[in-house]
Amino acid sequence: MDAITPIDQHTDSSDEDFDAAIDELYKASKWMKFLAILGFIGVGMMALAGLFSLAAPGGRGMVVMIFLLLMAVIIFIPCRFLYKYAQGAHNFVRTQNGEKLEEALAYQRSLWRFTGVMYLIYIVLMALGLLFGFNSKMFSSY
């Protein structure tokens, strides 16, 4: 009688694969933290540049300061999400508490959702800029 090799029902869901997946996530979390910290440094430098721009003559300094501080806030938010995601992944590996993993994945979702919304706003502003630039060129020829 031929030996029948039992079919492993979990070939796609083995514990080894899950552990390897978490290991990959853990390795990625170190780079995520690195990028987030670089982002925080950049935000700090931008905020400082904004404060120093107050010394510029005329009213331009105030405009530049507001712009730079606004950009600093916009960049800070995804950096924080990225840092929290990395921290959550790290905590999960350390504690093996699945709720930490859920928390980390929630932060990842927030990160990409925020980045996506910013991209869309950027594209809309770019399109409006092109449109008004095109229109003003049209009218200037009359």
Partner: protein, 153 residues
């Protein structure tokens, strides 16, 4: 009967895997990842085209560039950005596969692609910092050699 233990979904006939809530978070992330990757591709191609046009114009006008190799910077930056978008798209694809089919193997592949994406961006960030420091150093060196910079006694 599903027992939820510490966020893991553990059934007698099932191995360790991400909980239902975690899977839901990942599924909701996929559309945003895809959108950002595609926008990144489009912007990257636009930047590449624009930088090649600028390079061509500079070649016709300038015989000596103020900074050696500066004409290569913009096209190189655009290509590096395109590669980054590609890695992000791969992550989104694998995560989408995990969302549809499940399975820890698909999850492992997705997280591998995610790791590659962040390693690539980390290397680019380090490269950028090295270039900025190198540029500052080059400027300081060349400024001093022109005789108008710091004088060493």
């Amino acid at each position: 009967m599903e027992n939820s233990t510490d966020g893991f979904s553990v059934r007698p006939d099932q191995n360790k895997t991400i909980s239902v809530l975690g899977t839901d978070y990942l599924n909701r992330t996929v559309p945003w990842l895809r959108a950002i990757a595609i926008i990144g591709f489009v912007l990257g191609l636009y930047s590449l085209g624009k930088s090649l046009v600028t390079w061509d114009a500079m070649e016709r006008v300038a015989s000596i560039y103020p900074i050696p190799g500066i004409q290569y910077f913009s096209p190189a930056a655009a290509i590096l950005g395109l590669i980054s978008s590609y890695f992000l798209l791969m992550y989104a694809q694998k995560l989408g596969t995990f969302g549809r089919e499940g399975g820890n193997l698909n999850l492992r592949k997705a997280f591998t692609n995610q790791k590659v994406y962040y390693i690539w961006n980390g290397i680019l960030a380090i490269l950028y910092i090295v270039l900025v420091i190198g540029f500052i150093f080059w400027m300081a060196t060349n400024y001093a050699s022109l005789g108008r910079g710091l004088r060493v006694r």
